[in-house]
């Protein structure tokens, strides 16, 4: 087969990392590959595919592919399907040359089902027993030599915390790449006659290698993406002829496998049995308590958002200062002219708008990730499942909704663990209502105009409280629309919850920091690209305009300046403001002004809103660009907030960012669907344009009405 590996072939050896959810697979992956990871997609779906290039001590390069966690070859959710659809097809571009199977040592008896299924693919495999430290605490020991003999594969005990066993693991990987240790796989399952006959009938028509792969085709042919229509037809006929009932065979196979490997696991493991409740059970008496549990959860979330406000201030001041210095440096070094203006008013202003929010995003991701790592998020899903169910969602939706507080894109992708299509669709549709990190910048800038700083009479930071209020508003909108969809959408599918509650474990700093690094990097790169391009375009639009209008603006300036006898400074300011109004950007903003007037927005905000539909985080950058172009005072080092504060209506002299306008603008950003990337992901996940388009008009419609109400009430 041309897809198989030989030491002389040009491609690197492919080692698949497979295991059950919560087996600590990612920790093993991170420990082996460190920063040498790339994130891609499995073909046709948006399930993350992490590939780590990894060099053995001998210098051989191998590619380690991290598969989504799965319990068996009979998937219930979208991400689990990836495992079967890749492993049942030897021609798949990700079909591995060998498998590193990671099992949780403390639950080995339960974690071997998928391993025994993988053995029937005929691929070399290594079994890693992870979480050695936790097993040790419980007095759990394994006879690796005996286990290895029984399962026909090398066994190694691993601890991602201490690094125990990783040297040994490298040796086994080395052996596998040299194909020295391809033990004859001992099978844990003997197919029955029906299955054998079906496998026989299919073996010539498909590129499968083993009987078991053919049986998998018979089970999953209806959805396996690599099969053609004719293939499906053929398999349908064969299964019908043999009266193949997939559910019955699945149950029988699962039973047969457990019957065979459970005794093996029990015979090789020794445990000093403890009947007293363990640490996890004791802790959960409080953390999942009927009353205290939800209270503790709310308190934790409260702490998370206070922390963002309290800790991010210092690094943000630092970043602002650095960009101020950079701006000054560029202006000192380069001669005045359009290149310098583009650099300072366009690029630096835009970039500063991205970089400034790294501290907040990093803190949010760090804390959410920490809770996930420790094992707390599963408890949150358990506690709020019935509440979520009431709103047409699933306990797992809670994790997606919380991640949405960082970014809707990973949140929407994480819904693939929700097996029920309706619950998944609703989660996808409402998740973008939750305030994401891209809204943070807008909130930070605008809250200052609505709520005074300081602690007020109470103990808590008032702006922090307002901030939380905005988040609550997003949550209410999400749940409200979810409830609406619950009654609108129809489904026959059964809704289930089977949620593993892993033992609490010490978080691995490496895992958390790699995750935060990943997210922050992609925010800076992805958002940064968009923002950079938009700030350059904006700068151009705001600096240039139709010749006759620009000339008119200049003439008007001269006329007013002469009439009012302005000094040079005031004249420059006036000219900058009139020129901006005459520019292309000004024209665009004015064009939509009639629509946004009732919300209290002027044409400058109109420009920012138009640009925000590409991505909301553009707002602050846009404002920075617009106002730095509008300001003639080139020594002006004040930040964007100060510039907005000083912005006054040239006719009435009132502050433009008064309470009503700022509140209205805030509300608009809470509800409006302003993120092209999210819409693109929704399209990919729902496989139709119908849902993203619907979502766009729904959210933006709500935003318009809510802003209208708020402005008319406050003004």
């Amino acid at each position: 087969m041309n897809n198989s590996y030989s030491p002389t072939s040009s491609r690197p050896f492919r080692l698949a990392l497979i295991g059950n959810p919560n087996s600590g697979k990612s920790s093993v992956f991170n420990r082996l590959t460190g920063l040498q990871q790339k994130v891609g997609n499995f073909p046709g779906v948006t399930v993350d595919k992490k590939i780590g290039s990894y060099e053995l001590p001998g210098g051989e390069k191998i590619n380690l592919i991290d598969f989504p966690g799965a319990y068996s070859f009979y998937p219930t959710a979208q991400d689990e399907k990836i495992v079967v659809q890749t492993l049942a097809n030897p021609l798949d571009e990700n079909y591995p040359d060998a498998i590193l199977y990671v099992a949780d040592f403390t639950r080995l008896e339960k974690h071997l089902l998928l391993f025994t299924q993988i053995r029937d693919l005929g691929l070399p495999a290594i079994l890693g027993l992870n979480m050695a430290d936790m097993a040790e605490e419980r007095g759990r020991e394994v006879d690796t030599a005996l286990l290895s003999k029984k399962i026909g594969a090398p066994v190694v005990v691993l601890s991602s915390h201490s690094g125990e066993g990783f040297q040994e693991l490298e040796q086994y990987i080395h052996q596998v790449t040299n194909q020295k240790s391809v033990n004859a796989p001992s099978s844990f399952y003997r197919p029955n006659n029906t299955e054998k006959q079906i496998a026989e009938a299919l073996s010539d028509a498909f590129p499968t290698n083993t009987v078991y792969q053919n049986i998998l085709l018979a089970h999953h042919y209806q959805w396996l993406p690599f099969l053609s229509k004719d293939d499906r037809q053929l398999i349908a006929e064969v299964t019908k002829k043999h009266d193949f009932k997939t559910l019955r065979h699945q149950v029988q196979e699962t039973m047969a496998r457990f019957d065979k490997f459970e005794p093996v696991a029990k015979a090789t493991i020794k445990e000093t049995a403890t009947d007293s409740p363990g640490f996890t059970e004791k802790v959960d008496r409080i953390l999942t308590h009927k009353v205290f549990g939800p209270l503790i959860f709310l308190l934790l979330m409260f702490f998370v958002f206070q922390a963002i406000y309290a800790w991010a201030g210092y690094p943000m001041d630092g970043i602002e200062w650095i960009f101020g210095q950079l701006n000054e440096m560029v202006k000192a070094v380069l001669p005045a002219g359009w290149v310098t203006d583009l650099l300072t008013d366009g690029i630096l202003a835009g970039l500063g708008g991205v970089v400034i929010f790294i501290p907040q995003i990093a803190i949010l991701f760090f804390l959410i990730n920490l809770l996930e790592e420790v094992g707390y998020m599963a408890r949150a899903a358990y506690m709020f499942d019935s509440l979520m169910h009431f709103f047409g969602l699933n306990g797992r939706s809670l994790v997606a909704l919380i991640s949405s507080g960082a970014c809707a894109i990973p949140a929407i992708m994480s819904t693939r663990t929700i097996a029920n299509w309706k619950e998944r669709l609703i989660t996808i549709l409402v998740a973008p209502f939750i305030s994401c990190s891209a809204r943070l910048p807008v909130y930070v800038v605008l809250i200052g105009f609505v709520v005074p700083a300081g602690n007020g009479d109470g103990f808590f930071n008032r702006q922090g409280l307002a901030f939380m209020g905005l988040y609550f508003l997003g949550i209410i909108a999400a749940l409200g629309t979810a409830l609406f969809f619950k009654y609108i959408l129809k489904t026959e599918e059964r809704s289930t919850l089977m949620l593993e509650l892993p033992e609490y474990r010490r978080p691995l700093f490496r895992n958390v920091s790699l995750n935060v690094w990943d997210k922050v990097r992609s925010f800076v790169i992805e958002a940064g690209k968009v923002i950079l391009v938009i700030s350059i375009i904006l700068w151009a639009l705001a600096s240039y305009g139709p010749a006759e209008k620009m000339a008119a603006a200049e003439a008007q300036t001269t006329a007013i300046a002469t009439a009012q006898n302005l000094d040079a400074q005031a004249k420059d300011n006036l000219e900058a403001s009139l020129r901006l109004e005459a520019s292309y950007a000004g024209q665009m903003g004015k064009y939509i002004e009639p629509v946004i007037r009732p919300l209290g927005f002027d044409w400058k905000m109109g420009v920012a809103i138009i640009c925000s539909f590409a991505a909301r985080e553009v707002f602050v950058g846009t404002m920075a660009t617009i106002y730095s172009v509008g300001s003639a005072d080139d020594d002006d080092q004040t930040g964007i907030i100060e510039r907005l504060t000083n912005e006054r209506n040239p006719v009435t002299g009132e502050r433009v960012y008064n309470t009503a306008t700022s509140a209205s603008l805030l509300i608009f950003y809470v509800f409006a669907m302003m993120c092209m990337s999210t819409l693109a992901v929704v399209k990919r996940e729902t496989k139709s344009w119908k849902w993203p388009i619907f979502q766009f008009f729904l959210m933006t419609g709500i935003a318009y009405l809510a802003s209208f109400a708020v402005y008319q009430w406050l003004a």
Partner: protein, 83 residues
């Protein structure tokens, strides 16, 4: 093998357990749920202990042998046990 699918009328299902009580799983009353539960290690012969219920009449916090799992009422009821 089909013996694992028993009628809940004949034998008690896990829902009859009181918090803190333990039973032994003998089978399931739904083939579809049986397949999924078994993949997660809920097997005939396993010990099942009902620990607590989530707030708002929610999910069930269970110990299956020594491991913890949350199930909704439907799944919980599908497990046939012997006390």
């Amino acid at each position: 093998m089909t013996a694992i699918l028993s009628s809940p009328i004949v034998q008690p299902n896990a829902y009859l357990l009181q918090p803190g009580e333990e039973g032994t799983i003998v089978g399931f009353s739904s083939q579809e749920l049986a397949a999924n539960l078994m993949a997660m290690g809920v097997l005939p012969g396993s010990k099942i202990r009902y620990i607590r219920r989530a707030p708002f009449a929610g999910a069930f916090y269970l110990a299956i042998d020594h491991h913890f799992l949350a199930l909704r009422k439907t799944e919980f009821e599908a497990i046939v046990i012997r006390k």
